[in-house]
Symmetry: D3
Subunit: 176 residues, 6 copies
């Protein structure tokens, strides 16, 4: 799949199936999700740096921007499909074959092998959480997902205050 | 996933990823594909009955109409995902859990256990073939897929004249 | 109109005008409606069979799947257009000309000439009712339609408990 | 149907069914068609005035802008539906009930009772012709429609040079 | 930009960016807005005429129908872009070059040089106000815009009762 | 505009107006363009590194991913609007206010102050060129744009072989 136009258009026209399954009319595309992760990860890095961390902003943005590229080949199947495969390994295999120059950046995220990867993994879940909150506020039944994600995000050490900020900003009336 | 509105909307908003990967702007949804299979299977049954067969029209239409329902849960991932799973078994499992009253009809199609199922399986591939031909005629590179499907369809005994008819009608300039 | 690709795409791109006229952003297409009728009719048949009826599941699904095909030719005009024509006869004429092998199945539904046709006619109205309820829950003024359909559905003998089930499941806050 | 937001959104989300029936992916909406008629009618009036005519530009634009409003109520059904009704009278009835202040302008167009109405009626057909030419150039089978419209447009006295200009500009390779 | 098909399709596919920036899924296009202004302006003229005014209905409709044509060339940028340019002069320049036969009508609206232009300018703001109210009722944060527009509309002499009517009809729960 | 969901959705729903103005049905969104620039810039960096350069891959990806963020506020107006403003300064101002932590990365690209920024600026034009070629191959009149971009891309020192590769891959039949 070496046609980059097709890669981009596949990612920008593939809806994330979890929103469809909860009845949302206007399901976020994979590429819109990736951009949201990029913006969130960049903001988080900036906040942490303001607190004294030394996170490489470019690396955070880069990893976030490419973290879902394998879905151009794999599509975005339902949870039950992912659970039956070693999805991570499959994604990595696609990266090695189609985007070998990006495979290392992908690994940082997927296996959370360094701080950059951990921030992007956190931002990935957070992006889904705040989108779930917005859908809920508009009348769609996404609270199950919001709660499950919130719990996972609470498990990240040292990012609780970041989580609090975004929940306060985007999840009014959905999460406590 | 007991919300039938969400089942329908997921199927009607999930693009078939193979068209996206070949650059098509307006990728057929899973539900549009199912309807095309239904119409083709009905026409084929009518033709065969006119030639003296005794095919149950209602059964052909019914099986075709529901054959892809599992994709409401599974989504429509790329070929590489399907190839790594026992996709058929996964679909059957979804039918048993979500649509148990339709599971037998699904099995006819999936395992081609009777003539009705065989016709729907043929119509399923044929529907993809003629859509591939149309995309090709509009300028998209789908000929690889058209050729592969044509070969598979040739392997169906007793349906060669049916195949010829549809290729002549829809694949001008794409297949010989 | 012998091009089946055009038949399918017309049905899947024609919005049901009643939703547009009530301001809904994301009006259900004719083909999404047909799929919903198919799923509902299948569920209803399964329930009735579990209660001891002997309804042919394939026939119910088949009739539901094709019941609106004539709209590929006729489009989906407003209520006032339908009311001024013998719409049923016009539909039947289209079936006879374009889909003669399906014309008998259509008649079962349209004139409710047997139990199968009656169930599909019930499911057709029910599909519109539960979609109206969903639109209302999202903020659109479809309650007039919901109430009118509920009244019509109450008139079907022996299906009141079916109606109750679906209203309880999909119409919370809209119907009593 | 006094909700003007719904009137507008119905017109802008109702595809003209003739394009769907010829397989076009991106069928023109009724409101896009109305705008095209408005722009064409304005250009034609300007050309005729430059040749010495005295056509009221505002009237031409106004009639064109509203000429299809009745479709907010009636929808945009297929040709066979229109042919079985006194469609013109039905449209007029809708105007009288819903848009009484516009009913006279509508009549100018519909019955070509004056020069303004005649120009808009010409522009209405011309808009459909040049759209048909564009669809044909992109690969859709609309030439039957283009030819039929061209013939009708040739019957307008004194506008042959206008027709020639637009055919030369938009119909290269479609009409001679 | 002499291709009228491209002019129309640009206007009908360009979303008004203010709605996107407030999160609306289904942002009104420029051409849908123009049609709403046309319908409102026509209704307002009819009401004023019923009160004894002598407003030329065709002129009001014509000016409204074309008032945003320059956006086919300019697009629909954000407020900050418009504020840094003499946007009005830029629009006028486009009219003179692309649609010289409509430039005078545009000027009536843009500079409110006569009653017709003033009514269209009022209807333009009113159309945005009632759309903002509808978005708010569906859950989007457009109240800032609604309030700002209401204030501007209050400044139009002799139209307060018109404003009251539309606010009562469309802005329940949004404006007092 | 601190709502990141609205930022993302604005970018993913804003069509690039130049494609609309050339009649393309399916105009690329700003966010799809940004993703294409990111993928191209990454590939180019990988090629140059394989030739012995030492380009920071993460920086190239990061700058590309964010280079058009200001359009969430500014929209994507036509060329004539941009030409009348100091567009670059306006973009920079938005970055400083809305995304201060990304402003330096933006400057690298906008003013081509280092190799990373130069590669992204090249990839930005190249992304538009190959999209123009694809539109042309599908029948839209974008060759003027393709030629103008090709000329600008030729002016980049040391990247001629990169340009040749992409033109050979994507512009068959459009550029020599």
């Amino acid at each position: 799949m070496t046609d980059l136009l097709a890669v981009v258009d596949t990612l920008c026209k593939t809806p994330r199936v979890g929103w469809l399954q909860r009845g949302a009319w206007d399901a976020e595309s994979v590429c819109a999700h990736s951009l949201l992760v990029t913006l969130l990860a960049g903001e988080i890095a900036a906040r942490l740096n303001a607190e004294g961390a030394e996170i490489n902003m470019a690396e955070v943005l880069a990893v976030a921007a490419v973290h879902d590229l394998a879905e151009a080949v794999l599509g975005h199947p339902g949870r039950e499909v992912r659970d039956r495969l070693r999805w991570e390994e499959l994604e990595e295999e696609i990266f090695k074959r189609e985007f070998p120059h990006l495979a290392e950046l992908f690994r940082w995220y997927r296996y959370e092998t360094n701080t950059v990867g951990k921030i992007v993994a956190f931002a990935d879940k957070l992006a889904t959480l705040i989108r779930a909150c917005r859908y809920k506020q508009l009348g769609y039944p996404t609270d199950d997902l919001a709660k499950a994600l919130y719990k996972k995000l609470m498990a990240y050490d040292g990012l609780a205050h970041i989580l609090d900020y975004y929940v306060g900003r985007y999840c009014g009336g959905v999460l406590p």
